[in-house]
């Protein structure tokens, strides 16, 4: 067995190093650009979501939003449910109509059966959705609030004022997004609909793109 000289071995090693580096650089620049233009920013196509699978590694601990924050909250009154049914009929899709029907059932019958529980969960999720929407909007449009500082406005000093016209300050109203009772008395007085929960009367208002129930005085005669 003949022995190769150390110089020869070193030459082979350096050649190997050179070739390996070249191959590596080629891989790093990445073919796979297809016919399109690569940005060259070193963006990886990998990652947890890259497969688009419905199953993945379990998510890390996530934030705290109150899942049951509004559990048990009362539902909208029957009148709303009725109009809701009309809306679902307009949609003309069986599944949606079924869901709307389930909701209506829950609104009208607060029994603790399985259906009710299922609907309650859905309501909770919807509340979550609303919360998330609000949060998202804060994120998306936060800069448009920059003006507040110029006007000396701040969050802690914010007030909600009802008024059909801008600046028509009436009072700082108390409102709820869902009525706090299930057996709602509904009274139409003039052009306004009133809802009674216990001794408290509510009328509807518009806030943040949704309908809310504002604490109001009793309708005339009540």
């Amino acid at each position: 067995m003949s022995h190769k000289s150390p110089v020869f071995v070193l030459f082979i090693g350096i050649t190997f190093l050179f070739l390996t580096t070249l191959i590596g650089m080629a891989e790093a620049r990445g073919g796979g650009r297809g016919g399109g233009r690569g940005g060259g920013g070193g963006f990886s196509r990998g990652g947890a979501a890259s497969g688009g699978s419905f199953s993945s590694r379990s998510a890390s601990q996530r934030p705290s939003q109150s899942m049951n924050r509004k559990a048990g909250a009362a539902q909208r009154p029957a009148k709303s449910a009725g109009t809701r049914e009309n809306a679902s009929q307009r949609q003309g899709q069986g599944q949606r109509q079924e869901n709307a029907g389930e909701r209506q059932g829950q609104r009208q019958d607060n029994s603790g059966d399985r259906q009710g529980n299922r609907d309650e969960n859905r309501e909770d999720w919807q509340d979550h959705a609303n919360d998330a929407r609000e949060d998202r909007q804060d994120f998306v449009e936060d800069e448009w609030d920059d003006h507040r500082y110029g006007y000396g406005y701040n969050n802690t000093g914010a007030a909600f004022v009802t008024g059909v016209a801008v600046g028509a300050a009436v009072a700082s109203p108390t409102y709820v997004t869902t009525l706090p009772c299930t057996s709602t008395t509904i009274i139409s007085s003039g052009s306004t609909t009133y809802y009674q929960c216990g001794t408290t009367w509510y009328s509807r208002g518009y806030q943040g793109g949704t309908v809310v129930y504002v604490v109001s005085g009793a309708p005339s005669g009540y």
Binding site: K4, R96, V161, V176
Partner: protein, 278 residues
Amino acid sequence: MKHISRLRLGRPFWALFAVMAVVLTLGTTPVLAAADTPTTTAAEQDPEAKAILMKMAAFMAKAPAFSMTLRSGYDAIQEDGQYIEFGEQRHILLNRPDQLRVETERSDGEQGLVLFNGKEITAFKADDNVFAQVEKPGTVDDALVYLVRDLQFTFPLARMLHSGFAQQMEKKKITAISYVEENFLFDVVTDHLAIRTEDVDMQLWIAQGDKPLPRRVILTYKNAPGQPQFRGDFTEWSLAPKIAVDSFTFTPPAGAEKVPVIVRVRQKGSIPVQKGGE
């Protein structure tokens, strides 16, 4: 019984082995890592990408009228960490300077409508058969800001409809902007941009050509718990939309109830926010 003889290796072999080890350790590893790991893009300010962004913003701001559909979804992160996506679809008709129509349908079927006619804003909820009207003389820009800031309406990407969109993007502190790639999966070839600001990472797909309109946007709220995303797809773009006589006029349906709108007013002091029932 045969004994397995011990392999004897000479000095040249060990020298080769050592060289290869060095190669594998110092040479290959960093190169492969470079292939798999994103290189630093945090400080990248790609002028080409910036130009594409600004071109889109300017084009949208100057368009006298357009209509499009925005189909969007977003992560609603549950307490147990589960991500749930809720969706919305908006048909938007904008006619500058002072007309806007936004039809909204949520993924649960709830429908809404917002109209602006240069004099007042009307908001209508079909499910409740309820509408509200607020006087707001001015332009679409005025109405957009008022809707979002004062009436606190949910109006995703409202800024993109504002005629000052380009200036706002210039003003916005972009910490990094990069060109990702050309994308061939839309109805037109798009430029895929990645934009970073202090609190939101954005991805935009903008059509190439003389109508640089957005086709898709993803917003990642990286400072928010769970870093939720908003995703929106723009379709059915028209720069010469059909505008009917009553496109911006509200006719209340039978039985519709007009209700007051709750306005957030600016004022100093410490009047507490009153929000009961939660």
